[in-house]
Amino acid sequence: MELSSILIEAGIKIAVIVNVILVMASVEVYIERKVSAWIQNRVGPNRVGPFGMLQPIADVVKLFMKEDLVPIAANKPFHRLAPFLTLVIAIAVYAVIPYSSYISEDINVLGLFIIPIDEPIYLGIAPNINIGLLFILAMTSVSVYGITLAGWSSNSKYSLFGGLRSAAQMISYELAMGLSVIAVVIMTGEVEGFSRLSINGIIMDQGGWFYNWNFALAPVACIIFIITAFAETNRTPFDLPEAEPELVGGFNTEYSGMKFGMFFLAEYAAMALASAFIIILFFGGWQTGIAQSILDSIGASQGTLFLAFLQLLAFMSKLMFFIFFFVWVRWSVPRFRYDQLMYLGWKTMLPLSIVNVMVMSFEYFYEITGLTWGVLIITLIIMQMNYKNKGNKKRVVAS
């Protein structure tokens, strides 16, 4: 392909996907508000539009009309830069997220004209980049800069605490997260034409029925990764950087108007990204979870538009479920204390993920199927047998 056609194709994809992210963020806000309301036995937004569906748009209009205040003691260039940095990074990661497998048949647009497809096209800007996984890890690590910068440049003690907590949290969780990703890389087999670190390679490895998805083969890595994903996106139970009761609003205390809106948007974009990342690594990405032979029998063979549509549908419904899951957890698990978070990160998750990587390496090097599950179950049994307190200690009420 010529450079110009590559640029045009990428430009169209970028325009579509950035808009999808923006719409997605508003859908997420809607889901968040509705599900929060339901869990608290409320009705939730129901005034703006049908079932309150235009509520996020009303929110954005409100944010645009608000006064944009900058504290007089703030470091103004950095104060202005921080929300952009956070948002740009949150959106940039979407470049490597694939939404379905390739389309190789010609696309017939409503019977009017036909778009010829010479070589397979993928839904996604650059899903086949051979270091996709590294790209996501690198970009999500950089996103903490935006938050820390926002906290520091506001010149407010609460903001600074929020930013510092964010940085500390990131350091404690990044290791366990990286190691659980390594477990996935270990178990990913070679797929023809794809690097082991490419996102599409990892997804294609999880083809077939849904019990072939990585969560069933690497349970420990899956749980560790989901927990760290919560920490990564600063969501409850790890929302220490913006802990409302202690830090007013955390790093975004001193932000108002659309700059606050950008943090808001970035948070939701990061939440969708974390969901997508969980899905890609452990829940089959765009795989429908149905064996290809059955899909072939209903006319969705490899490379057809129909299959791509089904895969997009599967990806989106998984994404929606995980967004719901994020909100669900928010109202179920209380926030961790700072020291509890450090304890969990350094003393529990890190050793656990190291052991997990070792066991997984054995399992895939010597090809012992189910070693991880076996070790997990045996360890739990041994731990339970050696557990000191069998629940017989009772609470002593001071008289």
Binding site: W38, Q40, N41, R42, Q384, Y387, K388, K393, R395
Partner: protein
Amino acid sequence: MNNKKNTEAERLTFWESIYLPEVVKGLGITLKQIFQPKFTRSYPEERWDPTGSYRGRPVLVEENGSERCVACGLCSRVCPALAIEVQPGETPREKERYPELFEINMLRCIYCGFCEEVCPEEAIVMSKDYDIVFTSQESAILGKDQLLVDIEKLRDRLEFLHKYR
């Protein structure tokens, strides 16, 4: 105090100590709540009808076309927020006095009900009005024309006062 003995952590059973089953249990509880009946009242359509004990906007009782108030000024005197202003006047009616001017500044009113408590004629009572909205500071000062309410509409409150006071 020895707080190293019998701590919360020591009291946990094995499955509680690894947290995850408990977290899943908690998720189950919140999921159950989603399907519970809702408590929300869709306000402007579905209005709340307060009982007689409710202290809403203070109003003057209108009986047989005229106010009960004799402009003694006790309410104005007892009002902790200095919201009431009364100017007495003479009238050929049996009780000889009536308020020429009776104003309540609703921006000051704190709905304490002292005016009602102190009134010897049961002429000022707290009504059930709770959606009190003004568009300017001037319109928040209610005169006699807005304050007079027919006695039939205040039955609940008067009954409550007779019963409990």
